[in-house]
C-alpha cells in the first residue's frame, strides 16, 4: 500500500505529523509512506526512518520568486503533480487545512483521500470529521480543544500514541555536541537550560527583555548552564544578549543546522520556549518543556505533547486572540513575569515543591485523558471555573462525536468527568444561558428537520408538488439562516454549527430523498449534542 501525507505548513506542524506517520505504519504494516512538504521545512523528515520518500516543493520558486518568475513556479507544480500521479497512491492524507495542501490533495490521484481537499468549485471540502472539527474551530482559537497530534491521527484514521512522538539525533550531531560542550566549558554534571528566543510571528514571542531577565537570574546559579537557541535568521537577536558576561551563559543563536539542533536540545535538561518549531523538537526528544503560550497561540492546538510538559498562559480573557489581531496592550506577554518563570524552572529542575503561583498566570501540565488525547490540566489542583467546566463538558461531547460515533451515553461522559475531577475541584454555576440558548437552537433544528421530513415525503411527480418542495425548501433555508444568527451570538456552540455546515456541504446525492435523509441526520445529531450538553451541564447547574 502506498500512502502520501501532504503537509505544506511549518516545522511545528510537520513534527506534529510524526505520530500520524508511525500510527499509519502500525496500522498498515507493509505500507510505504511518502511525505510532501515545502523544501525549507523538510530537513526534519530525514530523521524519520518510517518515511520512504520525501518529496519537496521548492519554496524558493513558489514563494520567494513567484512574482518574478511565474513559469518556474508553474512548472514546479506541473512536474511535481505529474510525478506524484505516477506513483499510484492508495491513500492521500491531508491533515491540515491549508488551501495549498487541499489543492494538491485534489490534484494528485489516489484511491482514497482523507482530510481536506478542494471541490470542483475550488472551495475547500472536508473528507474527515476531524478536518471539519479543525476547520470549525478556526473562528475562535479559544474554543479549540484538541491537539493537532490527535487531530492528525484522527484524519489519518490511526491510533494516537504519545510514545510515537520521538526524534533521535544522529551520531555525527551527537559527536559534534559532545565536542561543543567541551569547548564551551559546559560541565557534564551541570543542569543545562535551553531557551529559544523568537518565533515565526512577534505576537507569539515573549519579549527579549523578559528573556534577558530570566537568563540573568538563571545564570546566577553556577550549577546551571544557560543556553540560548535561535534560528540563523535570528542572529540580530543574538547581539541583544551579547552584554551578558556570565561564564555559564552560552549564546548559541544561529549556531545549528536542524539536525544538530535535535542533538543540542536533547542534551538540555529543560527547554523554555515560545510556540516554535524547536519547542516541538524538545517535546519529541523528551526534554521537559516549559512553553510560553502567548498571543494567538492555542495551547490546546499546539502545546507540547510530552508528559510533564508545562504551559504558562496569562490569566486574561482575551487570550488566545487571533493571528491577524493587532493588540494594543500585549498584556498576555507582560503578565508572564520572568521571576515567575524562574521560580517554576528552579522548582522543576531541583525537584522541589512548586513555588507560590502567580495569580496573573495560568499554569498547566500535560496529561492523557480518557480519550487517550493530550489534555491540559492545572499544575496544582484547584477549583474549576464556570467557563472551564463548560469547556470540558463540551470537549467531552466533541470527543463522543469524533471517537465514539455519537454514542451520547452517560458512561463515556462519566468517565471523562472523573478524569477532570482528578485535577479540579468542581462546583455548581449558573448555566441558565446554556439552557436557554440550547433550547432555542434545538427548536431551530426541529423546524429544519420537520421541513426536511416533509420534503422527503412529497412525491416529485408533478409540478404542484415540485412547487411545494420549493416553498418548503425556502422556509428551511430561512430557518437555517435564523439558526446561523442564533449560533453566532453564542460562541460556545458556534463551532458545532460550523461543523454541521461543513459536513452538510459535503453531502452530494442526486436523489432528493437520500439527500434530505442525510441532512436530517446531521441536524438530529446537532440536536442530540445540544440536548446532551444541557443534560450534562444540569449536574453542575446551580438551582
Amino acid at each position: 500500500m502506498k500512502i502520501l501525507i501532504i503537509n505544506l505548513t511549518r516545522l511545528g506542524d510537520i513534527i506534529q505529523s510524526i505520530g500520524l506517520i508511525r500510527g499509519l505504519k502500525k496500522k498498515y504494516v507493509t505500507c510505504e509512506i511518502d511525505f510532501l512538504a515545502m523544501s525549507s521545512f523538510s530537513d526534519i523528515l530525514h530523521n524519520i526512518p518510517e518515511i520512504s520518500e520525501i518529496i519537496c516543493l521548492n519554496d524558493k520558486l513558489l514563494v520567494d520568486e513567484i512574482q518574478n518568475d511565474v513559469w518556474s513556479a508553474f512548472i514546479e507544480l506541473y512536474d511535481k503533480i505529474d510525478c506524484l500521479n505516477n506513483k499510484n497512491y492508495d491513500i492521500i492524507i491531508n491533515p491540515v487545512i491549508s488551501i495549498q495542501s487541499s489543492w494538491l490533495s485534489s490534484l494528485i490521484q489516489a484511491k482514497e483521500k482523507r482530510g481536506m481537499i478542494v471541490n470542483s468549485e475550488g472551495e475547500q471540502s472536508v473528507r474527515s470529521n476531524w478536518s471539519a472539527f479543525l476547520l470549525a474551530n478556526q473562528h475562535n482559537l479559544g474554543d479549540h480543544s484538541f491537539n493537532l497530534v490527535n487531530i492528525f491521527s484522527g484524519v489519518g484514521e490511526c491510533n494516537f500514541s504519545i510514545e510515537d512522538y520521538s526524534l533521535k539525533p544522529d551520531a555525527e550531531s551527537n559527536l559534534y555536541m559532545e565536542d561543543l560542550l567541551t569547548t564551551d566549558f559546559i560541565n557534564k554534571r551541570s543542569k543545562k537550560i535551553g531557551l529559544h528566543v523568537g518565533a515565526s510571528q512577534s505576537n507569539k514571542s515573549w519579549s527579549l527583555e523578559s528573556f534577558k531577565k530570566l537568563v540573568i537570574r538563571l545564570c546566577q546559579n553556577p550549577e546551571y548552564d544557560v543556553i540560548l537557541f535561535g534560528g540563523y535568521k535570528e542572529t540580530e537577536i543574538k547581539d541583544y544578549f551579547n552584554d551578558i558576561k556570565f561564564r555559564n551563559f552560552h549564546n548559541w543563536i544561529g549556531k545549528f543546522k536542524l539536525k544538530q539542533l535535535i542533538s543540542a536540545i536533547s542534551h538540555t535538561d529543560l527547554f523554555i520556549s515560545n510556540d516554535t518549531g524547536p519547542m516541538h523538537i524538545a517535546a519529541c526528544t523528551k526534554v521537559p518543556v516549559i512553553n510560553l503560550s502567548l498571543g494567538p497561540v492555542s495551547m490546546w492546538e499546539t502545546g507540547p505533547y510530552s508528559m510533564d510538559a508545562i504551559v504558562l498562559q496569562a490569566n486574561i480573557e482575551c487570550h488566545p486572540c487571533s493571528f491577524s489581531y493587532e493588540c494594543p496592550h500585549w498584556n498576555c506577554h507582560q503578565k508572564i513575569h520572568p521571576d515567575s518563570v524562574y521560580e517554576l524552572t528552579y522548582s522543576v529542575l531541583e525537584g522541589l515543591p512548586l513555588p507560590a503561583l502567580n495569580p496573573d498566570i495560568r499554569y498547566w501540565k500535560s496529561a492523557i485523558d480518557s480519550f487517550n488525547c493530550i489534555h491540559w490540566v492545572p499544575l496544582t489542583k484547584r477549583k474549576i471555573t464556570q467557563k472551564e467546566l463548560l469547556f470540558e463538558i463540551k470537549r467531552a461531547i466533541w470527543g463522543i462525536c469524533l471517537f465514539f460515533d455519537l454514542d451520547f451515553s452517560e458512561s463515556i461522559m462519566k468517565q471523562y468527568m472523573h478524569f477532570i475531577e482528578t485535577y479540579y475541584d468542581t462546583d455548581r454555576y449558573d448555566y441558565s444561558e446554556v439552557f436557554a440558548r440550547c433550547s432555542v437552537l434545538t427548536e431551530n433544528c426541529a423546524q429544519i428537520i420537520n421541513g426536511l421530513v416533509i420534503i422527503s415525503e412529497i412525491p416529485q411527480n408533478n409540478k404542484n408538488n415540485l412547487d411545494k418542495i420549493k416553498t418548503i425548501w425556502s422556509n428551511v433555508k430561512e430557518q437555517k439562516e435564523l439558526m446561523n444568527s442564533h449560533a453566532q451570538q453564542y460562541s460556545v456552540i458556534y463551532d458545532w454549527f460550523l461543523y454541521l455546515t461543513f459536513t452538510e456541504s459535503q453531502i452530494e446525492d442526486n436523489d432528493l430523498k437520500t439527500l434530505t435523509a442525510k441532512t436530517i441526520l446531521l441536524y438530529k445529531t446537532l440536536s442530540q449534542q445540544l440536548i446532551f450538553l444541557q443534560q450534562s451541564v444540569l449536574k453542575y447547574h446551580i438551582h
Binding site: I66, Q67, D69, V70, W71, L77, Y78, W103, T235, G254
Partner: protein, 565 residues
C-alpha cells in the same frame, strides 16, 4: 554587519575560519569535505572551458581540487577580513594566483555562460550579496533582437502641466509600436500639490513628502508590472532613491526633459540619477550637461502625434467658429503680449489663457480665458490661414534670443496640414526648410510683411503646409521619437536584451515541455511582453476554455501561493 573571525585547527590539522562562532568548514576533516563538495561539480561532467563561479571563499578547501580542471574561476566573497586571512595561508597561494575574487558588485563581470556552486555555510551572512552578483551575472552578452512587442514600458506622468499631454502622446506612441504599456497617472496628486504650492510655510518639505508618496506608489506599480523601461516626463514625481532602487534591478529609467532648462533648474538634480536624460535643447544645455553629469543626455526634439488631425472629431463646434485669417494659440507670456501689441493684424483671433485680461485683446478672444482642448486646437490650426507660432521667452526680448528648441506647436500645426509663421531659430532650420515647410520671421516688420503676402497667396500656403505635413508624418511623430528611444536603449542595454531573451527562452522551454497545442495557442494569443506577467498569465489561463482543467487547477493553486497563505 559585525563579524568576528577567528581561526581554529581542525582534527586533520588544517586551519579553518570561524565566523561569529560558526564553522565555515568541517571542524574534523575540512580537506575531505572540500574534496566531496568539489566532486559534486566534477560528477556532473561540466564543460571545463566555461568559467566556474564559486560563492564563498572560506579557506578554499572546496576550490583547491578544482584549480586544475577549470580554465577560469571566479570566487565571490565580500568579507575583506576573510580574504586577507586567506591570503596569508601558504596552502592558498596557488589559489590566489589562479582565481579572480569578486568582492563587490562593481567588480562583477558580464559572463556569457558559467557554472556555479556555493559554500553554503557562508550564505547566512552573504545571501543578499550572492544573489545580487548572481543576478548581474545573468546578464549574458545577448545579441537577441528585441522586438517592441516584447517590451513592457511604464510611463510616469507629471501631476499636471504642459507635459501631461506629451505623456499621453508618448504612451500612445509606445502602444502603437507594439509595446505593453502602463501609465502611472499621478493626477490624483494634483489637488494636494496645488494646495501645497499655496502654503505660506513648509512648502518644500510638503512637496518632498508628496514626491516620496508618489514615488512609493510608482515602486508598487513597478513591482507588479516589472517594466523593462520606465519613461518619466518632465515634472513626473520620482524620488532619487526610488530611481536608484529601480535601476539596480536592471530596468532602464528614462527622463524626457521637455522644458526650457533656463526656466526649470530641477534638471540639475534628476539628470544625475537616471539612465537616459533626453533633452529638447542643444548648444548651451548640451555643454552644461556634459560638464555636470555622466548620464547619457541625447537630444530628442518634440513631435506631433500620428493622426493628430483626427482629434478634431472630438469637438462638436462648427468649424466656422475657429475660422480666421491670422490666429495664435498659446498662453499670454510677456514677449507674446508685446508682439501682438505691435502686430495688430486684421481678422485676428487669440486662443488660450491670459489674453482676455488685456483690454486691447478682449475682442479677439472668442473663448475668452478658457483653456483650449486638443480637439479645439486642431480646429484652430486647420481653419486659420496663417498660424502665428511665437516661442515663449523669459528674456526681455520679444523673440526668444536663444532659439535652441522647437516647441510642440511647430510640429502640431504641421501635423494638421496647416500653414505657420514662426520665429526663426537655428533649431527650426536644423529640421525644416524655410519657405518650403514653414515661413520664418526675425522682426515684427518682417512678420507683418509676410502675413500680408501669404494672405494673398493661398496656393502657396497650401503647398508649404502640405510639404510640412508630409515631413512630419515621415520623420517627426511621437512614434518616430519613441522608436529612436527604444532603438538606443535596446542597443545599449545588455540587461534588457538578456532579460527579454531569457523571458522568451524560458517560455519556449515551458511550451515545449507541456507539448499541448491548446496551451501553445493560448500563449501565442498573449502579447509577448505580457507572457511572463504572473497576474496576467493566471488571469488568461483561468479565462481560457481548455478542454482539460489541469492548467486552470495549477494556476488556482499558484494563486494561493501568491496570496502568501
Amino acid at each position: 554587519m559585525n563579524i568576528d573571525i577567528r581561526i581554529e585547527t581542525a582534527k586533520d590539522h588544517s586551519e579553518i575560519p570561524i565566523i561569529n562562532d560558526f564553522y565555515i568548514h568541517s571542524k574534523y576533516h575540512p580537506i575531505e569535505e572540500g574534496i566531496k563538495l568539489a566532486n559534486t561539480i566534477l560528477e556532473q561532467k561540466p564543460n571545463l572551458n566555461i568559467p566556474l563561479v564559486v560563492y564563498g571563499l572560506g579557506f578554499g578547501y572546496h576550490i583547491l581540487p578544482l584549480l586544475n580542471y577549470f580554465n577560469q574561476i571566479y570566487v565571490v566573497e565580500s568579507f575583506s577580513e576573510l580574504i586577507q586571512l586567506a591570503k596569508n595561508k601558504p596552502h592558498l597561494t596557488e589559489l590566489f594566483a589562479k582565481v579572480k575574487i569578486i568582492q563587490s558588485i562593481d567588480e562583477c563581470p558580464y559572463i556569457s555562460d558559467y557554472i556555479s556552486f556555493s559554500l553554503r555555510s557562508e550564505y547566512r551572512w552573504q545571501e543578499a550579496f550572492f544573489k545580487e552578483i548572481s543576478n548581474k551575472m545573468m546578464i549574458k552578452s545577448s545579441e537577441y533582437s528585441v522586438q517592441p512587442d516584447e517590451l513592457r514600458v511604464l510611463v510616469n506622468f507629471p501631476v499636471y502641466g504642459g507635459s501631461f499631454t506629451t505623456a499621453e502622446y508618448v504612451s500612445k506612441a509606445f502602444s502603437e509600436l507594439g509595446c505593453s504599456v502602463q501609465n502611472m497617472n499621478n493626477e490624483i496628486a494634483e489637488k494636494l500639490l496645488r494646495y501645497i504650492l499655496e502654503m505660506n510655510q513648509y512648502q518644500g518639505t510638503m512637496a518632498q513628502k508628496l514626491t516620496n508618496l508618489m514615488s512609493n506608489l510608482l515602486w508598487e506599480r513597478f513591482i507588479s508590472f516589472k517594466p523593462h523601461i520606465i519613461f518619466c516626463l518632465a515634472q513626473a514625481p520620482i524620488d532619487n532613491e526610488v530611481i536608484k532602487a529601480i535601476r539596480q534591478t536592471g530596468t532602464v529609467v528614462v527622463f524626457w526633459f521637455v522644458e526650457d532648462f533656463r526656466r526649470f533648474p530641477y534638471w540639475q538634480d534628476v539628470s544625475k540619477y537616471v539612465d537616459y536624460f533626453y533633452v529638447i535643447q542643444k548648444g548651451e544645455f548640451e555643454s552644461l550637461l556634459k560638464q555636470m553629469v555622466t548620464t547619457k543626455t541625447p537630444f530628442l526634439p518634440m513631435a506631433a502625434p500620428c493622426n493628430f488631425s483626427d482629434y478634431a472629431s472630438l469637438d462638436n463646434s462648427d468649424a466656422s467658429f475657429f475660422t480666421s485669417d491670422v490666429s495664435f494659440m498659446g498662453a499670454a507670456f510677456v514677449n507674446r503680449v508685446q508682439f501682438f501689441n505691435q502686430l495688430k493684424p486684421q481678422n485676428f483671433k487669440l486662443w488660450g489663457t491670459g489674453w482676455y485680461q488685456f483690454d486691447q485683446f478682449k475682442n479677439f478672444c472668442p473663448l475668452k480665458d478658457q483653456r483650449i482642448s486638443i480637439a479645439q486646437s486642431v480646429k484652430i490650426y486647420q481653419n486659420t490661414k496663417i498660424n502665428i507660432n511665437l516661442h515663449s521667452s523669459m528674456e526681455n526680448d520679444i523673440l526668444n534670443p536663444y532659439g535652441d528648441f522647437i516647441n510642440p506647436r511647430t510640429f502640431e500645426i504641421m501635423a494638421c496640414n496647416a500653414f505657420q509663421l514662426v520665429d526663426d531659430s537655428p533649431a527650426i532650420r536644423e529640421f525644416f526648410v524655410p519657405d518650403r515647410d514653414l515661413v520664418v520671421f526675425t522682426t515684427i516688420e518682417e512678420a507683418i510683411d509676410k502675413i500680408q503676402f501669404y494672405l494673398r497667396h493661398e496656393s502657396l500656403r497650401k503647398k508649404i503646409a502640405l510639404s510640412a505635413y508630409q515631413k512630419v508624418k515621415k520623420y517627426h511623430t511621437y512614434s518616430h521619437r519613441m522608436k529612436q528611444v527604444l532603438d538606443q536603449i535596446i542597443s545599449e542595454s545588455p540587461f534588457i536584451r538578456s532579460c527579454v531573451e531569457n523571458e522568451q527562452d524560458k517560455l519556449k522551454q515551458v511550451v515545449k515541455k507541456i507539448n499541448d497545442p491548446d496551451f501553445e495557442n493560448l500563449i501565442a494569443g498573449i502579447k509577448p511582453a505580457m507572457r511572463n506577467s504572473t497576474q496576467h498569465i493566471i488571469q488568461k489561463i483561468k479565462q481560457s476554455s481548455f478542454k482539460n482543467n489541469r492548467y486552470k487547477n495549477i494556476v488556482s493553486l499558484l494563486e494561493t501561493f501568491l496570496g502568501g497563505e
